[in-house]
Each structure stands twice: as structure tokens, then as C-alpha cells.
């Protein structure tokens, strides 16, 4: 039992290291992080009038996280499996004595690490609200934490989509579509429309499946176990699907 667990851990570590080095072997990770920071900055600054509101509050900054993750996380995850299938290296990977769930987790953790780095590099925003006035740093830390967890769930979607195709472009597009549905389900525009069509119960029900809804509760500064469980559960589901998609290939479907 112990040997089995260690074997899985070995696989996770080996795959995580390889994938992380793949992100940084080309300019991919650097470009990703730079564009993410730039877009997040522009949105927060221009669209949310960050400084004009004058409040020492990162609300306008966190507001954009789900919407940006919806595009950026599938972009980060798209190559994880599709490239492997396309280059034929999946054959090598599947011949190694490591557990498949370990490989799936290792790959996700690598993408998650890059996302975490991108998120960490937004620290100037945190500093600047503290300069503006006394800020609720506990609430901000909590929002950062939930943002990171949410990023993992978005990456889970992207990685699972990547396991379904040999084209990373297709993986990106399908990943964004699914991520959009999961995000927009909690958008007032959508919940409003659904409520007026099918009654308010339906609107609320749909919103319960939205990343937006669960992320917003965190921004109010309360750690809601429900939100945390939602993202963790969702990520687990994605990892399981991802594993099944890859496992399915062993049966000979390309």
C-alpha cells in the first residue's frame, strides 16, 4: 500500500517537474503571465475606475478574475494532453510505471503553479490599496486564496478538454466554451433572464453551479465552506473525467 502511494507521489513529482520546465522552456509562460497582468491591470484600471472610487478595496480587481480565468486558464491548460497526443509522446508516458491519476494531477499542478505565479505577481495592487487607506487585508488574503482555488477549477476544465483532442487550438476553444457556461450561469444578466422565464427558483438553481456565485461570496470576506467545497469538488470531478478520457485511449480510440 505504502509502495503504491509512494509510486503515485513519484509520478506526480516527475510529471509536475517536466511540465513546469516545458512551460518555461519556451516563452509561453512568460508571455502568458505578462499578458494576464496587462489585461487584468487595464480592466481594473480603466473599466472599473479603480482609483476614482477612492476606496481601499480590491473589489474591482477581483471582479475580473473569473472572466479572465475563463480565457486564460484554458489557454494555459490546452497543451497539457493535446500536444502529448499529437507528438506521440503519450505512448511513452503511458508505458511508464506511474499511475495515471498521478500523471493527471502532476500536469494540473504544473499549470496551477504557473497560474499561482501570475496571481502572486499582482502584489502591487495589494500594496497600492494599502497606500490608499486602511484595507481589510484578511478579506483580500481570502479573496486571493479563493481566486487561486477557482483558477484550479478552470484549469481542470481546460485539462479535461485537452485530453479529448490532439489539437491544442480545439482544446482551447472547447475549454473556453465550457468555462464560459460555468461562469455566465451566475451572471445577473443570465440568472435574471432564466428567473423571468422559468421562475426565480430556476435562476437561483443555475447560479449555484456558477463559478461567479461562489467566488463572490468569498469577496465579502467570509470563508464559505460551501464555496470551497464547490471548487474542490468540481476540480476533483474534472480530474476524474480527465483520467477516464486518457484511460479510454488505452482501448485503442485515437
Amino acid at each position: 500500500m505504502r509502495g503504491r502511494f509512494e509510486g503515485t507521489l513519484n509520478g506526480i513529482k516527475a510529471v509536475w517537474r517536466r511540465e513546469l520546465s516545458a512551460y518555461f522552456a519556451t516563452p509561453v509562460a512568460y508571455v502568458f503571465i505578462a499578458i494576464f497582468l496587462l489585461v487584468l491591470g487595464v480592466f481594473t484600471w480603466e473599466l472599473s475606475n479603480f482609483f476614482e472610487t477612492g476606496a481601499a478595496d480590491l473589489g474591482p480587481f477581483f471582479y475580473w478574475h473569473p472572466w479572465l480565468f475563463m480565457l486564460f486558464m484554458p489557454a494555459l491548460a490546452m497543451r497539457l494532453w493535446a500536444d502529448e497526443t499529437n507528438a506521440g509522446t503519450s505512448e511513452l508516458l503511458l508505458s511508464l510505471p506511474i499511475s495515471l491519476p498521478g500523471v493527471v494531477i502532476g500536469k494540473l499542478l504544473a499549470a496551477w503553479s504557473v497560474a499561482a505565479l501570475a496571481l502572486a505577481l499582482t502584489f502591487p495592487w495589494w500594496i497600492s490599496v494599502n497606500i490608499l487607506g486602511p484595507a481589510d487585508n484578511t478579506a483580500i488574503a481570502l479573496s486571493y486564496f479563493m481566486s487561486l482555488i477557482m483558477a484550479g477549477a478552470y484549469l481542470g476544465v481546460g485539462a479535461a478538454m485537452s485530453a479529448l483532442t490532439r489539437s491544442s487550438v480545439l482544446a482551447f476553444v472547447t475549454g473556453v466554451v465550457v468555462a464560459f457556461l460555468l461562469t455566465a450561469a451566475g451572471w445577473p444578466l443570465v440568472t435574471g433572464a432564466v428567473s423571468s422565464l422559468l421562475g426565480s427558483g430556476a435562476g437561483d438553481a443555475i447560479a449555484q453551479f456558477s463559478f461567479l456565485t461562489h467566488f463572490e461570496t468569498a469577496q465579502r470576506g467570509v470563508l464559505e465552506l460551501r464555496g470551497l467545497l464547490f471548487f474542490a469538488g468540481f476540480l476533483t470531478l474534472c480530474l476524474i473525467l480527465n483520467t477516464l478520457f486518457v484511460e479510454h485511449r488505452r482501448s485503442g480510440v485515437q
Binding site: 516545458a22 510505471p97 482501448s251 485503442g252
Partner: protein, 242 residues
């Protein structure tokens, strides 16, 4: 050492491999021959645990690739057809990754990596991105990866494809050196290298075994030597006309 038991695989009703059984002992080097599409790679993928057989099993030192996959995979070194590699890595980081995946500790990893770099003669390119290597060097990096954990069973799918005559000879010498304590399966289309490299030949056609002989016996079975024997076998199996 390696025991194939009624291995079968179909793709959408097309029977790529049918009821393939044989045993391979330590010290044997098996030349695995057949036309394009005969089912060689499919067989090797099943033995390597990359593809699940529909029916049948393959056992390495008693470990089943179906019911005990990871244990069996530990005992196998596999070079997939075309030697796919992570192009963004260097041979050194690639080999280290494989060593980590095999659960080697740092010391074992260093020893193993140094050994296969020497064996596969890739010392001059270990720091170069794999994407910039020539085909021959890539093949050798793949080979180095397959023998990294010194497995008792080696599955090499067209290992000498794309190598120049000097490198072919080097690979043959390497295989000969390793042969005494391993069971090795080599698929190839270069019939000339079979007598030099293999102690046994299996020919398959349409996924079925049509011959299992020593290279000498196979060559003696037709007047034109190995090539004639191969062509005769394969066309006979199709009821004349290949």
C-alpha cells in the same frame, strides 16, 4: 521471461492482431517481422501496456500487463515506433524525467543516466534541445530512455530506422552486449540486419503468426535467402499475390 498468451486486438471490427502466442526466454533476441500494417506495433503496444488487449494477456516474469500493469511495466523498456520524444527537453532532462518516473533516487539516477549516455553514444548532445537533434540522434535518445532502468525485457519498434550504417552497427553491438541477460523483441524492415542481430524470427501477417524460426532456418526455406522467404511467407498467407 516474456509470455504472450492469445493476444488479440481489433479496431472497429478490423482485426489488427489475432490470437498471438509465444514465449521468449532470457538471451533471446527476437526479430519481429511483417509487412506494413501487419500488426507489429499494435502487438508491442499491448505488451508495453499502452494499449489494452481485447482478449489475451502478456506476462513479464509472471507479472500480467493486464491485471498488474505497473509491476509489469517496471520490467519493460519500450521504444515506441518513431521514437517520440519531448522536443522541448534536452536528452539529459528527458532521461532524468524517466529516471524520476521510475522512482530512482538521485545516486541511482546519476549512475543510470551516465551509463545510457555512454551506451547510446549521445554524450555530445546531452545539453541540446531534442527539437534540434538529427533523426539518428533522436532515435538514440529514445533507445537510451528504453534501457535506462536496465529492464529484463526490451521492446524496440524499428530501433535502427533512420540510422546511418555506422550507427546501425553501433546499435547492433549494443543489443548484442545486452542480449545475454534480457529478452528482446525488435521489429524491423531491414531484413539484412536480422541474421546479425536476432537469434529467432517471428513473421506475422494480418495479425497472425505465419512463421517462428531461427534466421538461418528461415533463410534456408527459400532459394533466394531471407528476403525471398519473407515474401513467400507473406504472399502464401494471403493465398498468393501480395
Amino acid at each position: 521471461m516474456l509470455d504472450l498468451d492469445a493476444l488479440s486486438k481489433s479496431f472497429d471490427g478490423y482485426r489488427a492482431v489475432t490470437d498471438l502466442s509465444f514465449e521468449l526466454d532470457k538471451g533471446e533476441v527476437l526479430g519481429f517481422l511483417g509487412q506494413n500494417g501487419a500488426g507489429k506495433s499494435t502487438t508491442m503496444k499491448m505488451v508495453a501496456g499502452v494499449l489494452e488487449p481485447d482478449i489475451g494477456d502478456a506476462r513479464v516474469l509472471g507479472q500480467s500487463i493486464v491485471s498488474n500493469r505497473r509491476e509489469a511495466q517496471r520490467l519493460i523498456g519500450y521504444l515506441p515506433e518513431g521514437a517520440p520524444l519531448y522536443r522541448d527537453m534536452t536528452p539529459l532532462t528527458f532521461l532524468r524525467f524517466l529516471a524520476d518516473a521510475h522512482g530512482m533516487d538521485r545516486i541511482a539516477r546519476k549512475t543510470a543516466v551516465d551509463r545510457v549516455i555512454a551506451d547510446a553514444r549521445i554524450a555530445s548532445v546531452t545539453g541540446q534541445p531534442i527539437s534540434t537533434l538529427s533523426k539518428g540522434f533522436r532515435r538514440r535518445v529514445g533507445l537510451a530512455g528504453a534501457i535506462l532502468h536496465d529492464p529484463p525485457v526490451l521492446l524496440l519498434d524499428e530501433p535502427t530506422d533512420g540510422l546511418d550504417p555506422i550507427q546501425k552497427r553501433a546499435v547492433r553491438a549494443l543489443i548484442a552486449r545486452m542480449a545475454h541477460n534480457k529478452a528482446i523483441i525488435i521489429s524491423t524492415h531491414t531484413l539484412e540486419e536480422v541474421p546479425a542481430m536476432c537469434s529467432r524470427v517471428i513473421v506475422i501477417d494480418h495479425g497472425r503468426m505465419v512463421a517462428d524460426k531461427s534466421p538461418d532456418d528461415l533463410a534456408a526455406s527459400a532459394s533466394g535467402g531471407l528476403e525471398e522467404a519473407f515474401i513467400t511467407l507473406v504472399s502464401e498467407a494471403r493465398g498468393g499475390g501480395a
